[in-house]
Symmetry: C2
Subunit: 148 residues, 2 copies
DNA sequence: CCTATATATTCAAGCTACTTGCCTAATATG
DNA sequence: CATATTAGGCAAGTAGCTTGAATATATAGG
């Protein structure tokens, strides 16, 4: 693979990622959730999968527990999440999405579909699915974290 | 396209992007440039294309001119860039890469090649080039900016 | 030519999302 | 039961941005 090919691959990958993030972000805001940033979405995806405590969320996001606690404070103050006592461990608190949090998650899914739709139109369904398969194969496993 | 397909496409795209950014970042650090963050790379790509002044760099990075000036201060203090008077405009200052800045740019290119190489091995050259073409087609034009 | 406005940059201060360091309470381990 | 580990919180510090205001140069209109 030539240098130019590698450069354009990197460019395309980063530009497409940014288009996805921007599209979801804009769509979520347009649906009335205008007090969230893209980074919050990564917390939502973890919480949507059955809830989590502060330490698990911190590991998922690759930040300190204090940073995760601050993020939960903020999301709780805005009504997106709730803290419940963890029945199995009196130290821990289970964080779950509220109805508003779930509504926001659905808004993000819809915004994502809106963003991807023109891609299917441009490439065709078949080729977009092949793109997905290839990306999955080169992407490492593990949780989806904010980029930097 | 089903919801699950869209989800996995988004996941693959973001995960692959992060793998690219992490790979370049790690490779640049491994080559001795350990005082830079990924966001600096976006400034380097603009400066490598013939230099720029503060305002142009600010627009490229989508930050305020003050933030761009601070970034240039930092890069200049670390020896990666230099400020020159702009012969065509006494207000402006032309920012260019130093030898160290160019060496770092080459290190980033090499790190990028190292990161992409296993992808070519996994998918095959043909399919990786097709992936690149598809990404370019769905990615918007314009400069490559930090993601958030 | 001269005045008014726009542009390039800098200085100063403030904010936000993190960090490190330390503390308490509850749980796990020997 | 003593000790180490883990979950979480409190306080303070920091990095990388922001807004606001000032100065110097350039451009446009009359």
């Amino acid at each position: 693979m030539h240098d130019d090919d590698a450069q354009s691959l990197a460019f395309g990958l980063l530009a497409a990622s940014r288009a996805l993030v921007d599209g979801i972000s804009a769509g979520v805001r347009a649906r009335g959730f205008d007090d969230l940033r893209p980074a919050h979405g990564f917390a939502f995806t973890r919480l949507a999968a059955g809830g989590a405590n502060i330490s698990q969320l911190a590991e998922h996001l690759d930040v300190t527990r204090q940073a995760a606690a601050q993020l939960v404070d903020e999301l709780a103050a805005k009504g997106y999440v709730e803290r419940h006592p963890d029945p199995a461990d009196a130290r821990a608190r289970l964080i779950t999405l509220t109805d508003k949090g779930w509504a926001c998650t659905r808004a993000a899914d819809a915004a994502m579909a809106d963003t991807i739709r023109p891609w299917a139109a441009a490439l065709g369904e078949q080729r977009l699915l092949a793109l997905r398969d290839d990306l999955i194969r080169i992407a490492p496993q593990g949780p989806l974290r904010p980029m930097w």
